[in-house]
């Protein structure tokens, strides 16, 4: 390789920061969004999640025989699929800073780490909203396919149903963030998320089946159980059920998220 002389004109100034403004949050959000899709893994994962949604939609639309073809039913199925897999996106957004050690550059270019955390949360939310819109479209396509098969699906969608779909997906994404910041490791964070979303509710359901008092307690302390009213019945949790969502949410979301942010703000970037 040939040497190229460093040829910026003039001499370098001393450190004069008067003309420099801090990095605006919008720019940080833009960079974090870009980081979500500028690797093969990042792009492939988002497409895979949408692909899974499409497969679920097609299975229901083409194979299910009766009684689950309403627009709201498709939306519930989409929400369940997203709840399982979408949180991996924010997990990757956070843990790459440690696993790939990009945090060395990220936090050198913006040493006010709370702004990087905020940018990641906002970028994660933007991606989540985008995926949810696509999921809504897929649900509509599914409903249309069902009516082509001769069923008579109900296109009606109450606001509470849409709200439940959005809320449950957002909760899942924020839990992904919390776990990622707490453990700062991609594999461990993904495993922990599936422990939370699959194993914990299974164990709780098992115990609830045998222990009466535990069955009463479970929705107050187990977040997946507490969120059930968001997916079933009339999609309108009662006051007591909202209380359960709140208490379980403090245990499984608010506390881990606060601890995770606290850890990330203080951690030594290795």
């Amino acid at each position: 390789m040939t040497a190229t002389p460093y040829s910026a004109p003039g001499s370098l100034p001393t450190l004069d920061v008067s003309g420099t403004s801090p990095v605006p949050l919008t720019r940080l959000v833009g960079v974090e969004l870009r980081k979500g899709f500028d690797t093969r893994a990042g792009r492939a994962y988002s497409l895979t999640v949408l692909g899974l949604c499409a497969v679920v939609m097609l299975v229901i639309a083409l194979l299910v025989t009766e009684g689950f073809q309403d627009f709201a039913d498709f939306l519930t199925a989409m929400g369940g699929t997203l709840g399982f897999f979408l949180p991996i996106i924010p997990i990757l957004l956070v843990t790459q800073e440690f696993g790939q050690r990009t945090g060395l550059v990220t936090f050198t270019l913006e040493p006010r780490r709370s702004r990087v955390v905020l940018a990641k949360l906002l970028a994660g939310l933007a991606i989540t909203l985008g995926v949810m819109v696509v999921a809504l479209l897929l649900a509509a396509i599914g409903t249309a396919l069902a009516s082509l098969r001769g069923f008579d699906p109900d296109w009606g969608l109450e606001l509470s149903q849409l709200w439940s779909f959005v809320l449950a997906t957002l909760i899942a994404v924020f839990i992904g963030f919390a776990i990622a910041m707490l453990v700062m490791n991609t594999a461990a964070a993904i495993v922990l998320y599936f422990v939370y979303s699959l194993i914990v509710p299974t164990v709780v359901a098992f115990l609830s089946a045998f222990i009466d008092w535990f069955a009463d307690l479970a929705p107050w302390i187990e977040f997946n159980t507490a969120q059930q009213p968001l997916f079933s019945g009339d999609y309108r949790p009662s006051v007591e059920e909202w209380g359960q969502i709140l208490t379980a949410g403090i245990i499984w979301l608010a506390v881990p998220l606060a601890l995770g942010i606290w850890r990330l703000l203080r951690a030594e970037m290795k």
Partner: protein, 330 residues
């Protein structure tokens, strides 16, 4: 003009282990300051504290009079390269620079300028980092540090992995940069690397500063310098005996070198040779250089210590060795 980087009584402890112990030094604008020490001496930790990646236990570092976190858009003022491999292996070189330029609010054209500056071709810039050689990664890291046209550069082992031409290129680049008023702090565990590029040197061993200054003042401040001359001639014995009679200590030259070692200056040795009619075939100073000084000052921190001689040779494997002897081939 005051110092640009000022490290003030910096200490960083991990439990009972003190990685950086009450370190103070400065780096001046227009100068390349070499930060030199064996592996694990605390160079990297000090640099990480400088840019806020590691919190200080006590003491502080200011750059241009400010704490790093108080510098707005710091990439525009301080170019940092701590570890060129600390990037996503699945991103291309160009993408890595684009992310940096976007964060700093620079036009995309800046990315091409920097790629050109560090001689990474378009094809190379389009490759993913996992396919980069160490030298290419290092060039990319230097390009990243220069993106924001900073007035200060903090580089940890920047020559690591560069080939000799690359090292020469980086030296010219950093010298030119300092020549235009920039401040460069670069670390290395290799003395020769720092010796040729640095105007000032800061020597660190086991977390403590053991010496600092420019090369001449470092050697002058080292009070153990007696004149020593190494000489080869057509009659070493005759010359040596004459010098010994004159009261100088004469020994064999260090192992692996021909001739004799005389604790006297070159003129004395030359005059003795003239008197004795001995033809000199070679003569040079045998004084301890910067390297000896570096090794001595940091010797208690070197992992190897300073063995008095070469290690014993391994037992020669022979057919005759008794069966079962350790190391004997079967």
């Amino acid at each position: 003009m005051g110092p640009m980087i000022s490290v003030e009584n910096l200490t960083r402890a991990y439990g009972s282990f003190v990685a950086v112990d009450d370190v103070s030094f400065v780096a001046q604008p227009g100068r390349v300051t070499g930060f030199l020490g064996p592996n694990g001496a605390g160079k990297t930790t000090t640099m990480r504290v400088m840019v806020g990646l590691t919190p200080a236990t006590s003491g502080r570092v200011t750059i241009g009079g400010r704490l790093y976190r108080d510098i707005p858009n710091p990439g525009r003022h301080v170019g940092t390269l701590l570890d060129a491999s600390a990037q996503h292996k699945g991103r291309t070189g160009r993408e890595i620079l684009t992310l940096g330029a976007t964060t700093m609010g620079l036009p995309k054209s800046r990315v091409d300028e920097m790629l050109h500056l560090v001689s990474l071709s378009d094809a190379e810039a389009g490759r993913r980092l996992r396919n980069y050689s160490l030298g290419m990664m290092q060039r990319l890291g230097i390009a990243h540090a220069l993106l924001g046209d900073p007035s200060v550069m903090i580089l940890d082992e920047p020559a690591n992995g560069l080939d000799p031409a690359g090292i020469r290129w980086m030296r010219d680049l950093l010298k030119g940069y300092a020549g235009r008023g920039g401040t460069v702090l670069l670390s290395s565990h290799l003395l020769h690397e720092v010796e040729v590029i640095a105007d000032e040197m800061v020597l660190i061993g086991r977390g403590r500063i053991v010496a600092q200054g420019d090369k001449r003042s470092l050697l002058a401040g080292d009070g153990t310098q007696a004149a020593v001359t190494l000489v080869t001639s057509l009659d070493d014995r005759k010359l040596g005996e004459a010098l010994q009679r004159a009261g100088h200590t004469v020994t064999m030259a260090p192992p692996g070198e021909p001739g004799i070692r005389i604790e006297a200056d070159a003129e004395t040795v030359g005059r003795a040779a003239l008197d004795q009619q001995v033809v000199l075939t070679g003569m040079r100073s045998g004084a301890a250089g910067l390297e000896d000084m570096f090794l001595r000052l940091t010797s208690d921190t070197q992992r190897e210590g300073m063995p008095p001689g070469p290690p014993p040779p391994p037992p020669a494997p022979t057919q005759a060795s008794p069966a079962g002897a350790p190391g004997a081939p079967r």
